[in-house]
Point group: C2
Chain length 460, copies 2
């Protein structure tokens, strides 16, 4: 990988290759694009920022970077929680936030989307045609499709509707040498050639820069019925989740532990039961009366797992209140202090064990660790909370962070279910993948980006 200082770097050539105003080098601008939401203390200082307006701008910027061996940090809305869009010194931050086009084709039930379009904008545009783009990361109102595809973002819907990958039919990508290639298209089944499209979904900006996405849409689901169940502790709730999975297909199955219930009530009182040890919120969007049958099945699983109270409603508005409580968990936790966001995923039968072991990590490292989970998928988001500016507490939180990654692996799981490895977990990646798979990935990356200019420091 090139080391790129600012001295003598030919930014003039970059300006010449791009439309007026697309290249920013003033300190306020480069500062504004240094960080993503992870706010890593060691974020670098960009040489320049390109705010691309078109695929051609992206192409020109990457070609310039390749010629001058300048590292490129691709960026959507900068909502990465893993440092995936954090600048390195002397890099070009390549933002696609201005490329916001969304076109819906109802006949093929596809959306053609520029990378800077917000996830929510795609959902809204699809809904206008009675169609639905399911993936719903917590950031869906503010994160971009380009970032969602680059990280294979997940969300609450995944338990029934899968992840971003499951909806990507086509991609335009600018490769590390500045070539623009088109992969896939509007067909829903396509096995022509190696699955290169699939290789770019979740590449975290290390193999190419996405300039256009064709997304598969599905008909809008039926209104959901909602289940709410309180438990004495997360272990019981997790047991209920394991039992449900074999019987029904919930469209949502979220878990909040007592610390999250507390945090949400403190942040925005919603009448949650603060005495409970855990809360499960489940939904079924099965059509017609079947949703009540599914929710009744889920309720039975909760009762058998020892729930202290179970509540079910067919009223979508009432259900939405609980969904709002779940969506409030992120802001509520953030309000408690600085946060390291975790994102492990374990085989679903390991959920009770993982919950218990995270409690033990919290005690051992004297760190507050509220846990929300996309429980139906075994995808846990422990949040490591510490007082801002308390270096010792931060160190303990970082140790707890690493300990939770070990818990994930010891449960047969993964260090990241949906946020990506980024910069924050690359040290832990070899422990999961092993030497041979690390080397395999390096070979693929080396074949596609021999100069190593794309998002260096991410993944490895």
């Amino acid at each position: 990988m090139a080391s790129a200082g600012t001295d003598g770097a030919p930014v003039d050539a970059l300006r010449a290759a791009l439309p007026p105003g697309a290249v920013l080098t003033d300190p306020a601008s480069t500062e504004a694009y240094r960080h993503d939401w992870t706010r890593l203390p060691d974020a670098g200082f960009p040489l320049a920022v390109v705010r691309a307006g078109s695929a051609e701008d992206v192409r020109a910027a990457v070609a310039w970077a390749a010629e001058h061996r300048v590292p490129v940090v691709p960026r959507g809305a900068g909502t990465s929680l893993a440092g995936g869009a954090t600048a390195v010194d002397g890099c070009l931050v390549l933002s696609t936030e201005r490329m916001t086009g969304v076109e819906i084709d109802p006949a093929t039930r596809t959306a053609v989307v520029e990378p800077g379009a917000l996830n929510a904008a795609v959902k809204d545009a699809a809904a206008a045609h009675g169609l639905w783009y399911p993936p719903d990361p917590g950031s869906f109102r503010i994160s971009t499709i380009g970032g969602n595809v680059a990280t294979d973002a997940g969300g609450i819907c995944c338990v029934k509707y899968g992840v971003t990958r499951d909806y990507v039919l086509g991609l335009d990508v600018v490769l590390a040498d500045g070539r623009l290639v088109s992969l896939g298209g509007r067909t829903v089944k396509d096995v022509a050639g190696l699955p290169l499209l699939e290789l770019f979904v979740g590449n975290e900006g290390t193999l190419g820069v996405i300039t256009r996405v064709v997304l598969r849409l599905i008909p809008l689901p039926s209104p959901a019925a909602t289940l709410v169940a309180y438990f004495d502790g997360p272990r019981d709730a997790a047991r209920a989740v394991v039992a449900m999975g074999a019987r029904v297909r919930p469209s949502m199955l979220e878990l909040m532990d007592s610390a999250v219930i507390d945090a949400v009530e403190a942040f925005s009182p919603m009448g949650l039961d603060r005495d409970a040890g855990a809360l499960l919120i489940g939904q079924s969007d099965a059509p017609g009366a079947a949703r009540s049958v599914e929710v009744a099945g889920m309720a039975e699983c909760c009762e058998q797992a020892g729930a202290r109270s179970v509540f079910a409603t067919d009223d979508p508005a009432e259900g939405d209140l609980f969904l709002e409580a779940r969506r409030a968990a992120g802001p509520a936790i953030s309000a408690r202090g600085s946060v390291l966001a975790e994102d492990i995923c374990v085989p679903v039968d390991q959920l009770p064990t993982a919950m218990e072991r995270i409690e033990a990590v919290a005690r051992e490292h004297r760190t507050e660790i509220p846990v929300v989970a996309h429980a139906g998928d075994g995808n846990l988001h422990p949040a490591l909370v510490f007082p801002p500016g308390d270096a010792d507490a931060r160190r303990r939180a970082e140790e707890a962070f690493a300990a939770i990654l070990r818990v994930a692996l010891e449960c047969g799981g993964t260090i990241t279910g949906e946020h990506g490895v980024g910069r924050t977990k690359r040290a832990a990646l070899p422990a999961q993948l092993g030497e041979d798979v690390m080397e395999l990935g390096q070979r693929v990356r080396g074949a596609l980006d021999p100069l190593g200019i794309l998002n260096p420091g991410v993944l490895w």
Copy 2:
């Protein structure tokens, strides 16, 4: 790629590396493993066949092949319709048919499967736990999971439940240098590292040999309600399909043109309407009463598209009869002569156009081309039928085959929706992918198999 003659090839070293009886070199055996179902006239003659009994056998065989630069043709049940498991001269055919283990883990709703297990065996084992493995290629009773994964096989269920790719959570793969790597696992969401797992699904045996698969299972669906609609011609039927897709999520949506109806009735009389120009068979497995509502919606779309008759039933046994009629299409067509099996996929709104243009190809090339289609996905299987041994008819069929691939591309589609490129479509691949994407694939393949020993002649 190595040219490997039989002279002096160190088969003794191969025998020494494998258990007794695993290496076959007698002419009857090598002849039995020369062909797959495509029965290409120019199939090569293997140097030897290895019938692997374990991942270690696969590892040893590939390591031997790498050392001696012998091409390896991986093989499951040999049901490829694209020449994907056809021998080349001097190759090692590496069969995994003896590796048939299937273990179901109900708690995580996963199956751990050896590559030689039949698709149907996985379905049966899952069903014993109330679980379901959806992918159902036409060959599901006789094709192996290893082959299904290597080709990303599809089937009838895809319109609602997706393709093989959507169910693969983990893979063990022997790389071209004989190393065994493990990718993914039992977690349903995992974005740690580059998506290498995804790269091996659909690699057609060109990047590695699969030795173990972890599959995601889902609860068994509800019994389906069935819709049957006859049309004057395929164009009307295709219009009904386009309309349905925006309203409901059929669990099956298959089209048969008049030639297929005729062939099925001639092969095994089922009381189909031989006067009709096309038949649509759709199902909904929505739970409870919703299935009737969905089927009623589908019926409405058929009526609006000018169906001459529409029939709906909630009786699963009655519905199964029509599904059997659909499943009989393959054997019924094969009974009419030699067949080149096509497998194009177009954006679903192009279905009417594609059907019309295939009719024109049939006329122009004086070839009988009955068409069945996974219509809901725009995935068409025109069958090019010609009298066995009629060289002129075969030539016309081959020209029609190439013409249909051009139709697919001109409709914005793909030359293969689910069968793979194999050997039969590699000449057409560059027209779809373009020079840059071809080169990109070559780079990835070169990085993983620098000697080019894995399934040479497949893909390119």
